[in-house]
């Protein structure tokens, strides 16, 4: 048996023997995938608890209340009698917004005294508040349009009342995700980021274990002193397992869960396979630079957790401060996200994504200059707690 396969076999056994690898490689990533996908399986959190304060009590105000209660996104759970009461309900977390119909609303409206409709959304909770905003605004505008078209036609103006009230209409169309499905944003970005975190940690952990327990000498001996052979044979079993998991993730997201796949499966598959290698390269880079188990894991954990924010899955890079925005490009998961946008969500030509694939390759070769340093650490293992 050649040296490569001996090391390969050795590291397969290492992976199989310690429960922590089973937990870190299979259990945790799969649990996270399941959590995210299941939580967001509805696409949008419908039925946000809200309240209506009807201080008018007229036929018109009751009609508005009924209309609002019938909307898909809201669940009218309370009808408080005053603003203060509603605000308290909001502070207690029972409602996420409320709609206020003022006193003498109908009378003032029909006599042209311009009553004001005000709705309050609790922006402490971004998502429900945004959905309530949309629902409240639509309801208010429909009410207004209804009354206005009555007034206009009663004044003898017989032409098209819609054009009268809304002379300009800008039709906003979301390409690729018209239904505003949240899972299309959060799952496709967070799941690969979880994968990146685990790959980096497991890479550092498995290399660090060798140095910690002094078995790295044996590893180098098996590899005949070649660090490249030692590392590649050591990490190859992990690569194969991660590939299976990455492909499972891909088929699960775009196949079973039905997240948008408007481009070519082949480019996405290539992206996932290269992503795994890029993450391993990233982990190897961290460990070679800091060949100490705890230090490398600390850095890996720090970068891995910050990746969820700096990779700009929700807040765009263009809006960040420049010095922070550039760090977005030093994590592999950023490129996975960019390729997803181009190749799966928008389905554009591969030409436009070419640089993202090149970035993967850079992550793969980045640790090479540091390998001599790793070799030294492997040959003289010292465990610094």
């Amino acid at each position: 048996m050649s040296a490569f396969w001996q090391i390969f076999r050795r590291s397969v056994l290492q992976l199989a023997r310690r429960p922590i690898y089973w937990v870190g490689i299979f259990l945790l990533p799969l649990f996270c995938f399941l959590l995210l996908a299941d939580l967001m399986s509805d696409g949008l959190p419908v039925k946000a608890p809200a309240a209506i304060i009807d201080n008018d009590g007229s036929p018109l105000s009751r009609q508005v209340s009924q209309q609002l209660a019938g909307m898909q996104m809201v669940d009218v759970v309370a009808t408080p009698h005053s603003f203060t009461q509603a605000r308290h309900l909001m502070q207690e977390g029972k409602i996420y917004g409320y709609f206020l119909i003022p006193e003498n609303f109908e009378a003032n409206l029909l006599s042209g005294r311009a009553p004001e409709i005000t709705f309050y959304t609790n922006m402490t909770y971004y998502v429900p508040a945004s959905l309530l905003y949309k629902t409240f605004k639509t309801t208010a505008l429909y009410t207004k349009a209804g009354v206005a078209s009555d007034v206009i036609s009663s004044a003898g103006f017989t032409e098209n009342p819609t054009a009268m009230l809304m002379p300009i209409n800008i039709n906003v169309r979301g390409l690729g995700n018209p239904g505003l499905n949240y899972a299309y944003y959060l799952c496709v970005s967070f799941m690969p980021c979880v994968l990146q975190l685990m790959i980096v940690l497991i890479t550092c952990f498995s290399l660090g274990q060798e140095v910690k327990y002094g078995s790295s000498k044996r590893l180098m001996q098996l590899a005949g002193g070649s660090i490249v052979r030692a590392v590649s044979a050591k990490l190859m079993p992990q690569t194969l397992i991660w590939w299976v998991i990455a492909l499972f993730l891909e088929s699960w997201m775009f196949g079973w869960q039905g997240y948008p796949m408007h481009g070519s499966w082949w480019w996405m598959t290539l992206s996932e396979l290269m992503f795994v290698l890029a993450c391993q390269g990233f982990g190897l880079l961290i460990y070679s630079a800091l060949p100490n188990l705890r230090l490398s894991l600390s850095v890996g954990a720090l970068v891995g957790i910050l990746s969820f924010s700096i990779a700009a899955f929700s807040f765009p890079v263009q809006s960040m401060y420049g010095a922070i925005a550039i760090t977005s490009y030093i994590v592999p998961t950023r490129y996975n996200f960019l390729i997803y946008i181009d190749q799966a969500l928008n389905g554009i030509d591969i030409y436009y994504s070419r640089w993202w694939y090149v970035a993967y390759i850079i992550f793969m070769v980045a640790p090479l200059p540091l390998l001599p340093r790793l070799r030294k650490a492997m040959l003289n293992p010292v465990y610094v707690p």
């Binding site: 922590i20 870190g24 959590l35 967001m40 039925k47 308290h88 909001m90 502070q91 207690e92 977390g93 996420y96 409206l109 042209g112 009553p115 004001e116 005000t118 709705f119 309050y120 922006m123 402490t124 909770y125 409240f136 605004k137 208010a140 009410t143 207004k144 206005a148 007034v151 206009i152 004044a155 054009a163 009230l165 809304m166 002379p167 300009i168 209409n169 800008i170 979301g174 949240y182 944003y185 959060l186 975190l197 940690l201 952990f205 705890r294 600390s298 954990a301 957790i305 910050l306 924010s309 700096i310 700009a312 807040f315 765009p316 809006s319 960040m320 401060y321 922070i324 946008i341 707690p385």
Partner: protein, 404 residues
């Protein structure tokens, strides 16, 4: 009783020594709660997404279509980077990642307005980020209403009897008032919740790492293993908990008061009441840490297992995905995490100005969790951690005996 206090004091001193001498634990207890809030807040601190790049395809080329483009360019959320000759060219700009939206104005736009018909325009948005879409959508909606109102007023001037009713103002003004996070900023929304999660995670990691350190070196234990005098576990755990509470005083003050101050997050709550709210939160996190000690055999393994849970807790907490939409098993799981109640209660106190009485549900649940986890922690210490440390101490004794 005297014995109890002596043991309590001994545990306290031992734990202090351990914490002080262990850079790993110090990183979690001091550096993590001090540095993470700064880094996170800096990432999101620009708060709003302004000036999303937009390309215009104007097939009308009239004063009115130009006016529309000017108004959209002036809106907060959009920035017109240029005109494209046709949709193909505009699409290319989008594919090159230069623009995130296309505004297409059809031929006859102005003429339709002149004919009292509804003039249509289309805005295509790239959907890679929700906040970018939101910026374009809000800008388009605002312009549509403002510009429309201008045109309507102009028209109504021709219909004398109604002129005063409608043109002198809106028929029925509609206002939205944002509560809590009044500017609607992303940083102010997400950070107060993240702060609580950082607090929880740093406590959990520190406490469980202390446990791992003791298994590796039983001399660091908070009780004297193998001594004839059986030390009380409650005294030991009490001593340890006291150390964690003392260590958390500075980070908690910093996180609850100074981080929001530095980054100008909403601070509507009563600071004293917020501290009272944090107490059971810290206690339940420490309790959970004691439970975790049962599975942490090696100090480093905690990284591999526990770091990713931050993501799990973030989603379970109801910050990104609201709690009313979390059901079934996930709801039960979320309820068992101190962070869920900590986030819920703290953001409402800090951002919405709720009093402690108004978050009584969360406060009560935190006390319940604290009781449960400290009890479970007691059992884990009693049946797993302590026997393990004693076994390790015995091994150490035998080793030194054989050596000498």
């Amino acid at each position: 009783m005297k014995k109890f206090f002596r043991q309590y004091y001994h545990a306290l001193i031992q734990e202090f020594r351990l914490v002080k001498g262990d850079p790993g634990v110090l990183i979690f207890l001091i550096l993590l709660p001090l540095a993470y809030p700064l880094v996170y807040s800096l990432i999101y601190n620009p708060e709003l997404v302004r000036d999303v790049q937009l390309v215009v395809v104007d097939n009308d080329r009239t004063p009115m279509s130009r006016e529309l483009v000017r108004r959209i360019d002036a809106a907060q959320g959009a920035w017109v980077i240029g005109y494209a000759a046709n949709l193909g060219e505009a699409k290319r700009a989008m594919n090159e990642h230069d623009a995130y939206g296309i505004l297409e104005i059809p031929e006859g736009f102005e003429r339709r307005v002149g004919l009292n018909e509804q003039a249509q325009a289309v805005m295509y948005c790239e959907m890679s980020l929700l906040l970018r879409y939101r910026g374009l959508l809000v800008s388009a909606t605002d312009v549509m209403q403002d510009f429309g109102a201008t045109i309507t007023t102009r028209r109504i001037d021709h219909i004398a009897p109604l002129a005063e009713t409608i043109s002198s103002g809106d028929l029925m003004p509609v206002n939205n008032i944002q509560m809590g996070n009044i500017e609607g900023g992303f940083d102010s929304f997400v950070m107060p919740g993240i702060l609580m999660l950082i607090l929880q995670q740093s406590l959990l990691l520190a406490v469980s790492m202390c446990g791992g350190a003791k298994r590796q070196d039983p001399r660091k234990a908070s009780f004297t293993p193998l001594s004839a005098e059986r030390s009380s576990l409650i005294a030991t755990m009490g001593g340890q908990t006291t150390v964690y509470l003392i260590m958390m005083i500075v980070p908690v003050i910093y996180i609850v008061h100074y981080v929001p101050l530095i980054f100008r997050f909403p601070m509507a709550g009563d600071t004293l009441q917020e501290f009272l709210f944090i107490v059971p939160f810290v206690l339940s996190s420490v309790g959970l840490g004691f439970v975790l000690q049962g599975i942490v055999r090696e100090r480093e393994s905690i990284f591999v297992i526990w770091v990713v849970t931050s993501v799990v807790f973030l989603f379970l907490s109801g910050l990104t995905w609201p709690r009313y939409a979390i059901t079934g098993f996930w709801r039960v799981l979320a309820d068992a995490v101190p962070g869920t109640w900590g986030v819920e209660g703290f953001i409402r106190m800090n951002t919405n100005g709720a009093s402690l009485a108004q978050v009584s549900v969360e406060y009560r649940n935190l006390w319940i969790l604290a009781t449960i986890y400290l009890t479970a922690g007691y059992l884990v210490q009693r049946f797993v951690q302590r026997p393990d440390i004693e076994a390790a101490a015995r091994r150490l004794e035998n080793d030194s005996a054989t050596k000498s």
